[in-house]
């Protein structure tokens, strides 16, 4: 299920109102599954040893939904429109 937890992790990276409280990276052997050797945007989960915990740090509810479009699966997170925070991401490769 790390494919889905990674999708959640990536959403928490781009949504400035979601914070990752706890995350475990994949080991080198699995890292390749998560693409392009990008550092830090995957999330491994395994029983209680490797967990992914996210938190809403805004003062508003955050709506999250999985949707399928044209055979692809997306995870949306939606917050009431605000302009006080944006995320800037850059790629760091190993």
């Amino acid at each position: 299920m790390c494919g889905f937890s990674t999708q959640v992790r990536r959403n928490a990276l781009i949504n400035p109102y979601l914070t990752t409280v706890r995350r475990s990276a994949h080991g080198n052997r699995r890292q390749a599954y998560y693409g392009e050797e990008i550092v830090g945007d995957d999330a491994a989960i395994y029983e209680m040893d490797k967990q992914l915990i996210i938190q809403n740090q805004s003062e508003y509810p955050i709506y999250m939904q999985t949707i399928e479009l044209a055979g692809k699966k997306y995870l949306l997170s939606v917050v009431p429109t605000q302009t006080d925070k944006v995320v800037e991401l850059s790629r760091e490769s190993v």
Partner: protein, 135 residues
């Protein structure tokens, strides 16, 4: 049926999403569109309407086709005033799984996790443990 007590804002959000989501899911074609109203921040993309009233931040590390695809969805929906005004009240953050890759887990497990997640509303300061969710 929803259970529990929700704030008015949460209830409004749920109602709005119920309205908008079917329109998004109905769209199934890809067009090439003008991307002049997008601004780029690092490798992420923020879609912003000309009057700055609407925006969507798009995940990095995706193909240009996918960027165009979602922007076209929004543009089409802007033709509908009700949908337009609903979309404008929110900022949307979208992530997909790695294209053509289910990660280290099986496709079956991914599909189950994806389906079981469904819809979730996180209230302010609420945490979500994905392990518990998918146990």
């Amino acid at each position: 049926m929803y259970t529990g007590v929700e704030s008015s804002l949460t209830a409004q959000m749920r109602s709005d999403m119920d309205l908008v989501t079917p329109y998004i899911q109905d769209f199934d074609e890809v067009y090439d569109v003008n991307v002049e109203d997008k601004t780029y921040r690092g490798s992420a993309i923020q879609w912003t309407s000309a009057d700055l009233s609407q925006s969507m931040i798009w995940t990095p590390m995706r193909s240009r086709d996918d960027q165009v695809y979602m922007n076209q969805i929004i543009k089409d929906h802007l033709l509908n005033q009700t949908i337009q005004s609903t979309i404008a009240r929110y900022t949307w953050y979208v992530s997909d799984r790695y294209i053509d890759n289910y990660g280290a887990c099986s496709r079956q497990n991914f599909m189950r996790a994806f389906d079981e997640f469904g819809v979730m509303i996180l209230e302010p300061s609420q945490t979500l443990n994905i392990n518990n969710l998918l146990a």
